[in-house]
Symmetry: C2
Subunit: 465 residues, 2 copies
């Protein structure tokens, strides 16, 4: 029965090493014995949390047990209480994080196929109940799986939980029958730990409402795991079509496709995007997702906070989910970074945008109105100094064609023309000396316009290769 | 805010009547006032459960309130306690069943677009918690919806719950502010009712684990409703392809397609099939579904119990889920019901199967071995009595071609030839007098075989039009 679980649900290969996390309690001793007896190549690993006076003895007991079985043994330790204080985490959360970091690092170092841990059906019940009390969605309520990835600790090395269908008391009976002497962790009775309150107080109380509550919850978890897998497969199917581009710190969605999805899929896609940007964002709540769904129909150029420092913003046909510091690509607009001297007949900007210059004689009335924004005609004789391309200086002003008097802030021009906020800082400006003569692709300067008096014309044009 | 809920989430049309179930408590009085104030055409309906001494007064109070608002009023009553005893139901379940029967019947009679009820966010929390304790899957944990169908009461008329985002105390405040005088149902404090124990004891206790537990659970329900809708859409997409046929009391699945699905979809499809056969089978548990999934790879001819009197069986490429009394079609096999005289040259059986007779002279050696089971050649001179077609008599024996001595039971012949159990009772036998001369489509009788001495041959053939 357990061999079937090891082979099928845990998908373990007897030919490859597997690293077992062994605290020395009944669950993990049982795990170790069963893996060993089934012929798997076990590496024993113990993490000393230094939380209890007898911690060092426990470590030595596990080491001795590994020696008796002739198995390799690894251990590490840390002052979990100190680390918890430093990182503002609960003791339980800190212990889990440091233990898993050690187990996964050790498994990688030993080329193990997986980390095996001794979670039982009781742990499953406690986990699902904890998520339920917290208001989790499907991914929390589905509980722990026989085999899964914990991307926070390793993107590819799985964790396996072969004992997930055994009850804690089954592992205790197993230890008695096999003359194993598990240590008993007294802190398991300490009700200041949230999980222990569930174990000792809440679960027995819930059993007064349904005597088979624990079994029922194990079934709920298994059923929800099946549902969750179906939804994940749906998201896999849609992801490529609906996410046309992504990069370091950002994900772009096709806005129309995303809006056409059912809310359940919209939430799933946003959650997946957020987790790909920040694997630690396990607890993205319903409110944050609802805010994002409400933001979806916003017109281009809008921006909103999502959660954990992630921003949502709309640009053209896309919705971006991005970290504040993300370096997004700008294929849709011309961008420039340094002042570039404009000599010769063309200048290559970022992302395949090219600025060309040619001299010509005035021909048509049309030029006076700059009808094509990507092409500018300027009176060459009025240009003072040589041409350079640079970005805007904060507060810089500009007198666009048609504004007879005064000027406006470049920042207001960008806003009026609905240029996305993030595209503005690197927008190319063509300047003659200090003077901006063309906000490239947008507006020419009024003083440099072509008039009846113009005899010599500079033609600037911008296009994307 | 509530008007938006009425129009969007509840999808109510102000031009059509809506029937409101009004107990006279704060929730339903609030519902009635809000619907009326928003301009909906409300019909007031009250069901008297006759469970409390003041029940008749409550009914009169609701009637008076409807009169004051100038709204039509309907009521009915039943002895819920008696009915519960007669049907072996809890008082709560019996009350709900009788009340909903009345509300839906009244709504149909009044051509109402929907039944509206006053469930609040508190009811939602209690409902989800109840399902959680019981070990429900997604469809239970998702809780109640603003608008949904209750197929047990009506296949097409929806129930709407406009107050699902209001807390019970909001409805009480509303009543105080609008000088409404809700009755207080003393039985709400009776903790012998399961729901009241949740309300008064368990939920306050769970709030000591998470002070925002109730809000969290409302969010969980909404998120799971989204997930559930995605899964239902998946099942809708697959249903036609994977269910090639269905009829009164049975559903046929394409076995290979079903086996190729993920377990989550397999469970969903089986659940949907079971619910289409028996809308009352809300509580099909995880065990029953797991039994069914384990049965899926069974070879043709196997049978297993599912639940609630439903059977699973495999036949050819199909898996059937069927009620015991289901009248399944038998397109795949010939079937007959009464003894039919075989005169003329053809006899039409059920479902387009036709039996033809012709006389011919012996030609080939092949005939002796009956190589095509759907065609039989018999020695015409050995036939005693006129030909009839009938079904097998229990215990009847037969000597098939090639069996030199003795005979075997027809039932064993069917088993050997892997004829499905349910196809056997009506399998057509061609008889001459008492003697079975052809088990149609399967085996001819050895004594009637064509030999070197045969001079006159009867050719029988069976085919499906």
């Amino acid at each position: 029965m357990l061999e079937e679980v090891l082979r099928t649900q845990c998908a373990l290969d007897p030919a490859l090493p597997v690293l077992a996390g062994v605290s020395g309690g009944a669950d993990s001793l049982c795990l170790l014995e069963l893996l060993h007896a089934a012929g798997y190549r076990v590496i024993v690993a113990h993490f000393n949390h230094r939380l209890r006076p007898e911690a060092a003895e426990d470590c030595e007991a596990v080491a001795a047990h590994a020696r008796r079985l002739g198995l390799p043994f690894l251990s590490d330790s840390a002052d979990v209480r100190l680390w918890a204080d430093e990182h503002g985490l609960s003791l339980e959360e800190a212990a889990r994080t440091l233990r898993y970091r050690f187990l996964f690092a050790a498994a990688r170092a030993q080329a193990a196929q997986a980390v095996a841990v001794g979670h039982t059906a009781d742990d499953q019940v406690e986990t699902v109940l904890m998520h339920f009390l917290r208001g989790a969605g499907l991914s929390g309520l589905k509980g722990m799986q026989y085999r899964t990835l914990l991307p926070l600790f390793d993107p590819a090395l799985p964790i396996v939980r072969p004992l997930l269908s055994l009850w804690r008391q089954d592992t205790e009976s197993f230890c008695r029958e096999h003359d194993l002497e598990p240590h008993f962790d007294l802190s398991n009775n300490d009700e200041t730990y949230f999980r222990n309150r569930l174990r000792h107080t809440l679960i027995p109380e819930l059993e007064t409402y349904n005597p088979r509550f624990k079994q029922a919850l194990v079934h709920t978890a298994l059923a929800l795991q099946g549902d969750h897998a179906v939804l994940e497969a749906d998201l896999d199917d849609m992801w490529e079509a609906i996410v046309p581009a992504r990069g370091e710190g950002w994900v772009a969605f096709d806005r129309l496709l995303l809006q056409a999805c059912q809310p359940g899929l919209q939430r799933g896609l946003l959650l997946r995007a957020a987790q790909s940007l920040n694997p630690d964002s396990r607890d993205i709540g319903f409110e944050a997702l609802e805010r994002a769904l409400a933001f979806l129909p916003s017109p281009p150029g809008k921006q909103a906070d999502f959660i954990n420092g992630l921003q949502l913003f709309t640009e053209g046909d896309r919705l971006y989910l991005a970290a504040l510091e993300a370096d997004l690509t700008f294929e849709a607009w011309p961008q420039v970074s340094l002042p570039l001297p404009l000599s010769g007949d063309r200048l290559v900007l970022k992302n395949g945008w090219v600025l060309s210059i040619e001299e010509c004689t005035p021909q048509t009335e049309d030029w006076k109105h700059n009808p094509q924004p990507w092409v500018a005609f300027l009176d060459a004789d009025l240009l003072e100094g040589s041409l350079v391309v640079r970005t805007a200086i904060p507060g810089e002003r500009f007198q666009p064609l048609g504004m007879e008097n005064g000027s406006l802030k470049l920042s207001d021009l960008f806003i009026n023309l609905k240029i996305p906020r993030r595209a503005r800082p690197a927008w190319p400006l063509v300047c003659a000396g200090e003077q901006v003569v063309w906000v490239a692709g947008l507006r020419t300067a009024h003083p440099l316009r072509v008039t009846e008096k113009t005899t010599r014309v500079i033609k600037l044009s911008l296009q994307k290769n």
